[in-house]
């Protein structure tokens, strides 16, 4: 087991997913499987590029203190459910441009199933529990992104019976 120096990071400056991945792997040389999810800022609004207005900028607001606490709680929950050697969640705040990385989630385990399930769980729960809010700028101005019911349905798959 390698204990990571910092499992949760919220930062107002861009991060480099490749550098983060290699740092994570270097901390966790004995893990057989590492699953990673990266969310990038999309350049269109809503579910579909064909119908969604172009988005030129995004602002990410968060609740300082609670956001770190919630991300830490998600990691604790994942560690309780799967055998994990290491976990990392990095989330942007502040002003973003299209294609900027928003979130980086990584889970490492001796075996791939634990890593893959934990990574999926983390991003699904993060989407419905971590206090972050996106505001998108389109040709008609800036507007808060609406939460989708689909995210709640995804997250509910992980509720314990």
């Amino acid at each position: 087991m390698t204990t990571a120096p910092s499992n949760v990071r919220i930062q107002s400056t861009p991060f480099d997913p490749g550098a983060e991945l290699n740092a994570f792997l270097k901390e966790t040389p004995h893990a057989g499987g590492i699953a990673v999810f990266i969310g990038q800022m999309r350049d269109f609004k809503g579910p579909d590029r064909a119908t969604g207005a172009p988005v030129s900028a995004m602002a990410l607001e968060h609740y300082p203190g609670m956001a770190e606490k919630e991300l830490g709680a998600l990691i604790d929950e994942a560690r309780g459910r799967w055998k994990l050697d290491n976990v990392r969640v990095i989330h942007r705040s502040g002003d973003l441009a299209p294609s900027d990385p928003i979130v980086f989630v990584a889970a490492a385990s001796a075996h791939r199933v634990d890593a893959l399930e934990a990574c999926t769980f983390l991003i699904d729960w993060l989407k419905t529990k971590a206090p972050f809010w996106k505001k998108e700028t389109t040709g008609t101005g800036a507007a808060w992104v609406d939460a989708t019911g689909a995210d709640d349905v995804r997250a509910a798959r992980w509720d314990k019976a």
Partner: protein
């Protein structure tokens, strides 16, 4: 005294990100606090008009509107989260 925080669309509607309040002892739950805050100004009233859409946290933990605010130091109101 407690600190009330507003985020995202709720913050924009209220016109404040934070305020210190001292509600009476009759304000026992988050729901009571919303009623009491909604009476403070027309902007508060409008922000809390669709209260079913508003999420709350007491001392940085998600809670339902039925939760107690008796020992709360920090209560936050915000729309459903959209990060990740």
């Amino acid at each position: 005294m407690m600190t009330v925080l507003y985020f995202a669309s709720v913050k924009e509607k209220v016109g404040l990100s934070e305020e210190q309040v001292d509600p009476p002892a009759s304000v026992a739950t988050v729901n009571d606090l919303i009623d009491w805050l909604a009476a403070r100004s027309p902007r508060h009233a409008e922000a809390f008009a669709s209260r079913g859409m508003i999420k709350s946290a007491v001392d940085q933990t998600h809670v339902p509107a039925s939760a107690s605010v008796a020992d709360a130091r920090e209560v936050a109101f915000f729309p459903p989260v959209t990060g990740g």
